[in-house]
């Protein structure tokens, strides 16, 4: 099967920039040296991306440990792999591995590391990956620099390649084999092959990584001497630290939106969504179909018509967003279609639909009341929940918001189903099969976050999801995902209302920042300081 050209084309369309970042000056000649300091809101207990698939982990370990494949604006590029291909039947995927790469302790990187990581971490231990690699039976090493993944069911190469930047980090076998993987000291003091070598982790304060003098890209790279991540839990204080020049950057909306807009007007900083095209999320309205009112699809459609999304985009997301078109975002490449049923803002139509559905306005001005759980995922998610309540009031629906922290939200929504409606955000992870379609598939036991909490059951949807997961032809696979998108926009168990990348703020002394679609998670081998 053809591979790299196909994926280059796919990824080109996948990563169409939503660039709103201030223009950088024409880049001068890179300078060596310096320390770049970045802000993180939350500190991480584990610094092993083969054990924890989490953006917070990648932000740090992406500089220390490298994946087989990364994503650039030109498509997928090999990092620890140089080439990849699939057998005709999709049961074997072969990676050619980069030669001359050493772990930070000097040991060579080989296929043994990949095979060990895949069978001991990616398949059994790594969240998300254990579903992705459920049919992985073994990894063969015909030579030290070739890894052959053997599957019991066809694995689409497109899916595998799309997943590898997040879910394809090898660990050094010689440091993990025979140890308790969960308690291994290198989970918090990672040893990788990346441009920066882990130096120290001061809990509650900072993490320091220093230049790898033996980096495989050559002695020119990396440019920086050191990267430091500072933990500042208070976002306002982080904004002040950026303004005072103590910190060079903060990703994933790490400071308040008001400060983001204010500092965006300061010529010292760049603010925008560039570099986050691979980290797109949807702000959602989620329905509990066990509620007999919400079980009526006409009610759900009426609710959609009652939402002024452009108002929400302008006032809550400050314009850094667009209306959603179902479970796959516009950055989803060939798997995305905008040829779906839409529900434009029309409160009169919404009221009429609710009347016709048998829910007229009562004497108290209310048709019915919904118990709404708002996810505690930051400023705009809370505001989005409050806007939902206001918008519903306009069409005669009373929304009572339940305030909860993360564990309470996850249990209330996903385990106990103790909600009528909920709002949160759902991140798209390169390919719909990684973490998106599982949200719509029936049959998942209760209590598993980001699976079908709606009580949505559709044999047609299940069949489409299963077919797409193992379809090898990219065009056929894309058509299946278009069908999934259309069906979801008709059935509406969840409204994928607003599509938005995350937002970052960076001091303009940083050069080559946000130059890949998953920049915060990438290796920063070419990042440098112009000062």
């Amino acid at each position: 099967m053809t591979h790299r050209t196909l994926f280059a084309a796919l990824a080109l369309s996948t990563v169409l920039p939503v660039a709103t970042l201030a223009q950088e000056a024409a880049a001068p000649e890179p300078k060596r040296g310096g320390t770049a300091i970045f802000h993180l809101v939350t500190e991480q207990g584990v610094l092993n991306p083969a054990l924890r698939a989490s953006t917070g982990v990648y932000q740090i370990t992406g500089k220390i440990m490298e994946p087989l494949i990364d994503l650039t604006y030109d498509g997928p590029v090999g990092v620890l792999a140089t080439d990849w291909s699939s057998s005709e039947d999709g049961l074997q995927i072969t990676f050619k591995l980069r030669e001359g790469v050493n772990w930070h302790d000097g040991e060579p990187f080989t296929c043994d590391d990949v095979a060990f990581s895949a069978m001991e971490f990616w398949k059994p231990l790594l969240n998300y990956s254990s579903t992705l690699q459920a049919n992985l039976e073994s990894v063969d090493c015909p030579d030290p620099h070739t890894a052959v993944f053997n599957y019991s069911k066809p694995m689409p190469l497109a899916l595998m390649v799309a997943a590898m930047p997040d879910l394809g980090h090898p660990v050094p076998k010689h440091l993990y084999e025979g140890t308790d993987y969960q308690r291994n000291e290198h989970n918090t003091a990672p040893v990788g092959t990346g441009p920066f070598v882990f130096r120290e982790y001061q809990r509650g304060q900072h993490i320091i990584a220093e230049r790898n003098e033996d980096y495989w890209r050559g002695e020119e790279f990396p440019y920086l001497d050191r990267v430091i991540w500072r933990f500042i839990p208070d976002k306002s204080a982080a904004a002040a630290a950026i303004e005072a020049g103590e910190i060079h950057g903060s990703g994933f909306i790490g400071i308040p939106m008001a400060d983001m807009i204010r500092l965006g007007e300061d010529p010292r900083f760049s603010v925008g969504t560039k570099g986050y095209e691979n980290n797109v999320a949807h702000s959602t309205i989620e329905f509990n179909l066990r509620n007999e009112i919400l079980a009526n699809p006409e009610v759900r459609k009426a609710i959609y018509h009652g939402l002024d999304l452009q108002f929400a985009i302008d006032s809550i997301m400050r314009g850094f967003a667009q209306e959603g078109r179902g479970p796959i975002p516009s950055t989803g490449g060939i798997n995305y279609t905008d040829d779906v049923t839409t529900y434009p803002y029309d409160p009169d139509l919404a009221r009429q639909m609710l009347d016709e559905a048998g829910y007229p306005v009562g004497n108290n001005g209310i048709r019915f009341t919904l118990r709404h759980r708002s996810a505690p995922y930051g400023e705009y998610t809370q505001l989005w929940g409050e806007y939902f309540a206001q918008a519903m009031r306009e069409i005669g629906i009373q929304v009572d918001i339940v305030t909860n922290d993360t564990p309470a939200f996850l249990n209330g929504v996903y385990r106990d189903h103790d909600f009528d409606t909920a709002n949160g955000w759902h991140q798209f992870r390169s390919d719909p099969a990684v973490s998106t379609t599982v949200w719509l598939r029936s049959g998942t036991p209760p209590g598993q976050p980001w699976t079908n909490q709606f009580g949505y059951q559709s044999a047609e949807m299940d069949a489409l999801i299963d077919a797409a997961a193992h379809e090898l032809d990219p065009a056929v696979r894309a058509d299946l995902y278009h069908q999934i998108q259309r069906l979801e926009m008709i059935d509406l168990p969840v409204i994928f209302a607003i599509e938005h990348p995350f937002i970052g703020i960076y001091n303009n002394v940083l050069m080559n920042h946000t130059n890949t679609p998953r920049w915060e998670s990438s290796s920063w081998y070419d990042l440098w300081l112009n000062q």
Binding site: Q182, I228, R230, I232, A244, P407, S435
Partner: protein, 327 residues
């Protein structure tokens, strides 16, 4: 042979502390069980999701699949040997975490309470001595302003003024990480980083002690024994030190002990605002992330501290007023 009264008193207080701490620990454990969701839920939330097998394996590994009473018994059994367990959020022994974080909080609290107490007592005594003068009015008004100002707001104002506009002080953190200072330069750097947190935490208490001391000085100044001392011709300085101050300080000292726990609570906000790696910020994160072992360790330690400080306060109280016996 009879035990010295002070030792007998200390022993009695120590024995009283055991059931107090036990009740606090069991209560905290049960309260955390009442909160919806557990540490694995918080962890999975942080990770952005996980599949069912992963979640089940984590619960089993952390013992969260056991009945609550089994978890409680296991924990209390370990605690009896001062084993605080493992923090599954920070992947460290809880004792290591506590030892790392405690000095920062203790330094913050000690500096803040010292500043608040010394400053509050001195200003209050001076204002009380010169009651209703222009200077007293100024001090009292300023005291009211600081007393009415929430410490997070004061912290933000200070950051805005001293860090962003004037550029005199660092915004937060314990030290300038990129400077790699050692020796006395490191200590100086850390002291500079503590200026704003200490000021933000202490000013409200300083204002409170000042107002209390002022009214106490005014009240004591009118009492018979002060009048008698003056009639006997004692110098005014001696009257202030030995008669007025000593008696006026009693309510302030009582409050100092009682407010220790409140200051510890206030440290949560200040440590979060200034990104200080202290135990108070750790407590906040432990609740949010349902890190039960860490939270229990912090509660145990802070209970001990509050009991110890109140014990010391009682000793000082007895020293200030000989009519008070340690019983």
């Amino acid at each position: 042979m009879r035990m010295p009264p002070i030792l007998a008193y200390a022993l009695r207080r120590l024995l009283q502390a055991v059931p107090t701490i036990l009740i606090v620990m069991v209560g905290t454990f049960l309260l955390m069980q009442l909160a919806p969701g557990d540490m694995v839920d918080a962890l999975v939330g942080d990770m952005g999701g996980a599949d069912a097998a992963f979640i089940a394996r984590m619960r089993q590994e952390y013992g969260l699949d056991q009945p609550v009473w089994v978890q409680l018994m296991r924990y209390m059994g370990k605690l009896a040997t001062f084993d605080f367990g493992w923090s599954y959020v920070y992947e460290q022994p809880v004792s290591t975490l506590l030892l790392d974080r405690l000095p920062v909080t203790l330094a913050l609290m000690a500096a803040s309470l010292t500043l608040a107490f010394v400053g509050g007592v001195a200003l209050g005594a001076w204002a009380g001595r010169h009651a209703y003068s222009a200077a007293d009015n100024l001090i009292s008004t300023l005291g009211l302003v600081f007393y009415a100002m929430p410490n997070f707001f004061l912290a933000l104002l200070m950051i805005l003024l001293f860090s962003i506009h004037l550029g005199w002080l660092p915004v937060g953190g314990l030290r300038d990480i990129a400077a790699f200072h050692t020796g006395w330069r490191l200590w100086l750097d850390m002291a500079i980083h503590m200026i704003m947190p200490v000021a933000a935490l202490s000013l409200i208490y300083l204002a409170f002690y000042m107002r209390l001391m002022r009214s106490s000085v005014i009240e004591v100044s009118e009492l018979d024994f002060v009048r008698t001392a003056r009639a006997k011709g004692a110098p005014e300085g001696r009257i202030m030190r030995h008669h007025i101050m000593r008696n006026a300080m009693l309510p302030v000292v009582t409050l100092l002990g009682l407010q220790f726990a409140t200051v510890l609570g206030g440290s949560v906000v200040i440590e979060t605002m200034f990104a200080l790696p202290g135990i108070a910020q750790l407590a906040y994160n432990s609740v949010i992330r349902r890190d039960l072992n860490t939270l229990m360790g912090i509660v145990f330690l802070s209970s001990l501290l509050v009991i110890a400080v109140n014990f010391i306060t009682d000793l000082i109280y007895a020293r200030l007023d000989s009519r008070i016996e340690l019983r």
